[in-house]
Symmetry: C2
Subunit: 332 residues, 2 copies
DNA sequence: CTCCTTTGTGGAATCGATTCCAAAACGACC
DNA sequence: GGTCGTTTTGGAATCGATTCCACAAAGGAG
């Protein structure tokens, strides 16, 4: 039993294909009797309009794609939840795909926008160089979220990473931090901005950073432990560490605790993101809250504007406010 | 500048549309000179074949969809990584969509299979009733993973949840557990199977369960804390608790520790999944390792068979071996 | 040089839903 | 009953890539 087509429905209902299509799309100019006949035929044949045929004719898919390196991140999943909810309100389906940081796979997914498989694209952490993002943004419906390339043509939503890192570092200093260390990443742009914010806050307090440790690879719990272990071997021992994410901070806290030192007594630790990891950690982490859900919503709204208005869409970046969340991993 | 079509490319290259298409699809019967001319025209016009037109004609999309309630779960993301990698090897793109446990949104996503937006579907935790899964599986390319409905026609990959729960409960008893408690969920089928395994192991040891606590809603860190708090108010106080996930177990451990009791000294705690949470917890959790990546791979392979072979596909369920991982949250 | 095979090419038909245009059906009103 | 709107309908054209068929060109064998 092959798939039923609009022709089959028309024949069964005793009307024309035009009428069937009009019923399907809720056109007002259809008599009640036709509507009923068509509805009956559709049910009888278990008919569904074929997406590719509809998309071809209409020249849009009502689908968008959201790209990220990986899915297992509280911030990413929350951002995509916000974007997905906002998209649903406008009748769009949001699909998500991980790139695994692989250029080729990312390219393949971006091609889905180029070849019309989806109408728009939300990029979380592009692996491609900034110039490519810029070029894409000029011709295609793309917005960025959290990780924003320096691209004039593109729109992006994020917090002010530099300011946020500045704020939390200042908090570390205010609560007694003098020998300042940072564990971060330079792979992501946000990581570099956080480094800047950290350095600025330290300098402003008349101090200088004692230790800066970075990873080029994963930025997870194990990386946090590894770098913290390294840190504990250095002198002078820091009394405050700013970590680029909660997960890394949790690894750092764990390593410090295992070494017999106390957090925050001996070393204060600050995280970033205010994910569930911050609450799971003992002691609970002082961190920066990102309005991830709202960022996702805003990203979709900007994307919608880009998709529907040919030219008058928003460009540049928008910052959403972050918030310092003080918990027990820093001195009160 | 509107999108270039195959016609435009043909005109620019001075060949026919047939030849362009043959070049695009790597047909061998094309001269080198035509190949070069077409390639040049494609580059010049920045041409990409339109997906909907191609899909319509070919009657397949080379895309599959993976559904789950939410994305922020180590098991889910690992399963989908396995499925995605396997799919990529066969030239398929894997798209992921969260249902948020919403029937309507789930239906909308399942419709993407019905209307040919994708060629196949991997379902993680269906919200729909088993009968619907069964009915879908009969006519459509669907496989299930981890959470498997009792559906004859469908294929599913998972571990043997009952046996795994049995194994870890037996370990709790072997290492001194007498007053046995469980914190679980009955919303998911796997949760019910784990309950069965727990009960069986307890009964087999000549004991009977002291406390069984379940949540109908979220099954996360906070739920773990809430149920553990409740548990600590009950008498007799348990000396061993089996939790249905690592995240819940982490919440449970946290609540017990905060109450001034020791894990595992006063109360032993076991988790499930061997996610990163098991390692982040203090003490690290004894748990059950699920071969999530392999489950994803296998799920895709079964799906591929279902999509390509009209009838001779696999049915029923396949169990992959689990593994008891002993750490510090249970007595040595 | 002819005949036959191979290799390459052009172009029309096709996939299935939508949409536009023209025409039919239906009322209402005189 | 005829005229003039207003609904409603039928059906052809369309979207863009693929594929099949027929035919042309090139090469090889005799």
């Amino acid at each position: 039993m092959a798939r039923a087509t609009v022709q089959d429905v028309a024949r069964t209902a005793g009307v024309s294909v035009g009428t069937v299509s009009r019923v399907l799309n809720g056109s007002p100019a259809v008599s009640e009797s036709s509507k009923a006949k068509v509805a009956a035929a559709i049910r009888q044949l278990n008919y569904r309009p074929l997406a590719s045929a509809r998309d071809l004719r209409r020249d849009r898919t009502m689908r968008i794609l959201a790209l990220a390196k990986n899915l297992y991140s509280p911030v990413i999943s929350e951002v995509f939840r916000g974007a997905g909810d906002a998209a649903a309100l406008s009748g769009y389906v949001t699909l998500i795909a991980p790139t695994a940081g692989d250029r080729e796979r990312e390219q393949q997914l971006v091609d889905m926008l180029r070849n019309g498989s989806v109408d728009g694209l939300i990029m979380f952490s592009p692996t491609m160089p900034d110039e490519d993002v810029e070029e894409m943004a000029e011709q295609l419906s793309v917005v960025q979220v959290c990780e924003i390339a320096d691209a004039e043509a593109a729109f992006g939503v994020s917090i002010d990473d530099r300011q946020a890192a500045f704020d939390i570092t200042r908090h570390l200093i205010r609560t007694g931090g003098r020998r300042m260390a940072m564990i971060g990443t330079r792979v992501a742009r946000s990581g570099r901005l956080r480094e800047e914010g950290f350095r600025r806050a330290v300098a402003e307090a008349g101090l200088s950073p004692d230790h800066m440790l970075f990873t080029d690879g994963d930025f997870d719990f194990h990386a946090g432990r590894r770098l913290a272990r390294e840190l504990l071997g250095l002198r002078p021992l820091p009394d405050a560490v700013f970590c680029g994410s909660d997960t890394v901070a949790a690894g750092c806290v764990r390593e410090i605790t295992d070494a017999g030192l106390r957090v925050p007594g001996d070393i204060a630790v600050a995280g970033f993101d205010d994910s569930i990891q911050a609450e799971m950690c003992v002691p609970e982490l002082t961190t920066i809250r990102q309005p991830a859900y709202a960022m996702g919503q805003l990203a979709f709204e900007a994307l919608l504007a880009r998709m529907t208005e040919p030219e008058g869409y928003r460009r540049g970046r928008t910052f959403l406010p972050h918030e310092l969340v003080v918990r027990d991993s820093t001195n009160g």
